[in-house]
């Protein structure tokens, strides 16, 4: 080992936990996953985010070994598990519908996998004790799943993955059957669990708040492919294309269709200076483009004076949400939304002066929709 160059040694330690290589999956003639590559580091919390039907569950099932892949490889902990049984892959899985065995008690549910693995009784008891302490389900051990609330059931389902003492956890929309409050609570609990256990977690969701709060990295999926893979800040701040920009953020991004000309963005009779905008490709040429500005990046009131670009609008509609107030208006013939403080007093028909910084905006090519 001592002979290895330092850099190589580091790589050895930083090995990936899960590696997906050129993965293909098709149901009959329908290609659901196409040539998908994804490396997930040890202890990483990766969130798969995408709209319904984009193949998130399918990918997770492939990793778990519940679906036979049509092509490519899956490695878990440096072992090629492409053909391995789900139970031999060193994974635990939590399902959306909890999938607790209804005729077994909570204890029976937790011990089922361990009994199948022929673990000695004292070991089983020890693991159940540990898991139920971590998840605070000790008083429920003798109950049947039917006698549990939704949150308790999901906790037991997580416990079932926990007792298996595995390195990789797979979650398929574990919180989407719960009400909003419980979802927020359990979300925090999952995050805490991850801090404590430090194992790899792959988490499927279509709730972006969940994705942003939990993830180390987010993979945005669409049509069986990964569109963008990056930290939540990257995904939010520098979306790679218009789809991702539109998908992430609520309320969604405002788009202005115009064109880039000599370092300004021209839309209608406005021209927005692009000083300080970080182009992906420094030699980007002029041409038709779309500018995206998040409603929360638009400023009003005194702050406007310091903004590099300013424009006057008329308020069309107000949507108060309590903490914020969303204001609908029109900029250069485009529908435009602005997020203001919930305290601010605005009324329909009022004139408003807006300002924003092009450095926080995103520019996309009008044809390819890729980030400029």
């Amino acid at each position: 080992m001592a002979l290895l160059p330092a850099r190589l040694r580091v790589e050895k330690i930083m090995k990936n936990s899960v590696e997906i290589k050129n993965l293909d999956l098709q149901f009959g003639s329908v290609k659901v996953l196409q040539d998908l590559n994804l490396d997930i580091g040890k202890g990483e919390f990766l969130v798969l985010l995408g709209s319904s039907g984009c193949g998130k569950s399918t990918l997770l099932n492939c990793i778990a070994g519940l679906l036979d892949v049509s092509g490519g490889q899956i490695h878990i902990n440096d072992r090629n598990v492409t053909w391995a049984e789900p139970s031999d892959r060193g994974i635990g899985m939590v399902f959306q519908s909890y999938a607790l065995y209804p005729q077994m008690t909570v204890e029976g549910n937790l011990s089922f996998g361990l009994k199948n693995a022929k673990l000695p009784k004292p070991e089983i008891a020890k693991r159940i004790k540990q898991a139920s302490e971590v998840l605070q389900i000790e008083p429920l051990l003798k109950r049947k799943p039917a006698a549990l609330s939704g949150g308790q059931r999901q906790r037991v389902a997580i416990g079932r993955a926990l007792v298996r003492d595995v390195d990789v956890f797979l979650f398929d929309e574990p919180l989407s059957n719960l009400d909003a409050k419980l979802r927020a609570d359990l979300r925090v609990e999952i995050k805490r669990l991850h801090h404590k256990l430090q194992n790899t977690m792959i988490y499927v969701t279509h709730d972006q708040i969940e994705a942003m709060t939990l993830a180390d990295r987010i993979a945005i999926m669409r049509g069986g492919q990964i569109m963008q893979l990056g930290s939540p800040a990257e995904i939010y701040g520098r979306p790679i294309n218009k789809y991702v920009a539109d998908f992430i953020g609520s309320p969604s991004m405002n788009f202005l269709d115009g064109h880039v000309e000599n370092g300004t963005f021209e839309v209608g009779d406005l021209s927005i200076p692009l000083d300080g905008y970080e182009f992906v490709d420094a030699s980007a040429t002029d041409g038709p483009a779309t500018m995206g500005i998040r409603p929360e990046h638009v400023v009003t009131g005194e702050l406007v004076e310091s903004a590099p670009f300013q424009v006057n609008v008329e308020v069309n509609l107000i949507e108060p949400t309590g903490s914020d107030t969303l204001v609908d208006c029109e900029v250069a013939g485009h529908h435009f939304r602005v997020r203001m403080d919930g305290q601010s007093r605005v009324s329909v028909g009022e004139k408003l002066r807006l300002g924003f910084a092009p450095t926080r905006a995103s520019l996309f090519d009008a044809n390819t929709e890729l980030r400029l």
Partner: protein, 301 residues
């Protein structure tokens, strides 16, 4: 603000009143009562007749209750009535039927449930084709296969034995039972099956520990279906067994249709009721189980 507790409510309030003699109710209960009579009356006539002596029956009052209750016809039907040459009553047929029904029901349900489980959860290559062929089997009239099966049974040396008949019943129960089980297992949440696989359970472990315990209602349905079907079978019993092994239905037929002597209506009635007693009790016993099974299997969420 007005104080609503002071001003009494007017207009419709509380539960909606229902007329007990609406046209709808009369029609509904009328139909139900007619149908009940249609089914219950013959049973009543059979029962009272079986408790009468022959002299009383000859009076011809079929609806009147017995003046003098006698259980002699029941005893005779069970142990003395003549079928052709032998006079052992229904008892031989009864035990034959028991020996036919129990293994056939158990075998066919075990095989069909495993089939249905494999077809719904372990999609193997050609599973759909296999299923289609199996279902097609349900639509082939039995009569077509009657004679070929005689030859097959003869070739494997089971013709005329109880074993042969058990085999035939098991095979013929397969299509409809497999369909029943497959559809039931398909309706169970797929994630449960996936969770069990992640937990390291194999084909048989998932079947015995997860699927079967969740399937009491469908097993009850299958038992009712098979017990009544096999117990009531006449055709296969006549064709595939020898007189020593005739099931109860065939014995009953032989008693009722025996041509010697006078027609003993009371014995015939008693024999018929005796033969029908097994399916009847299955309904009573498992009917309640069935309802309880459905209630127990209902896990919300």
């Amino acid at each position: 603000m007005t104080d609503t507790s002071l001003t009494p409510l007017t207009g419709p309030q509380g539960p909606k009143p229902r007329k007990s003699f609406s046209r709808r109710n009369i029609f509904l209960y009328g139909t139900l009562i007619t149908i009940t009579l249609f089914y219950a009356l013959p049973l009543y006539v059979m029962f009272v007749t079986s408790l009468k002596g022959m002299p009383e029956i000859r009076l011809g009052n079929i609806f009147s209750p017995p003046l003098e209750v006698t259980f002699q016809p029941w005893v005779k039907a069970w142990s003395q009535a003549c079928t052709g040459l032998t006079c052992n009553g229904l008892s031989t047929g009864f035990w034959n039927s028991v020996q036919i029904t129990i293994p056939s029901v158990i075998l066919s349900i075990i095989i069909a449930s495993v089939n249905g489980y494999a077809l719904s959860n372990w999609k193997f290559k050609g599973a759909d084709a296999f299923f289609t062929i199996l279902i097609f089997g349900a639509f082939i009239p039995y009569q077509v296969m009657l004679y070929p099966i005689v030859i097959m049974l003869r070739e494997i040396g089971l013709y005329g034995s109880l074993g042969g008949l058990v085999l035939v019943h098991t095979v013929f129960g397969m299509p409809i039972l497999t369909l029943l089980f497959r559809n039931y297992f398909t309706s169970l949440p797929e994630e449960l099956f996936k969770a069990a696989r992640v937990d390291g359970a194999g084909f048989w472990a998932i079947y015995t520990k997860i699927m079967v315990p969740m399937s009491l209602p469908i097993f009850t349905v299958a038992v009712i279906l098979q017990v009544t079907g096999i117990w009531n079978d006449f055709l296969f019993g006549v064709v595939y067994t020898s007189p020593d092994n005739y099931p109860m239905t065939v014995s009953l037929n032989n008693i009722v249709n025996s041509t010697q002597g006078v027609k003993e209506y009371n014995v015939n009635m008693a024999a018929t009721i005796l033969t029908g007693l097994v399916p009847l009790s299955i309904y009573f016993v498992s009917g309640r189980l069935f309802v309880r099974g459905i209630a127990a299997g209902a896990v919300k969420g």
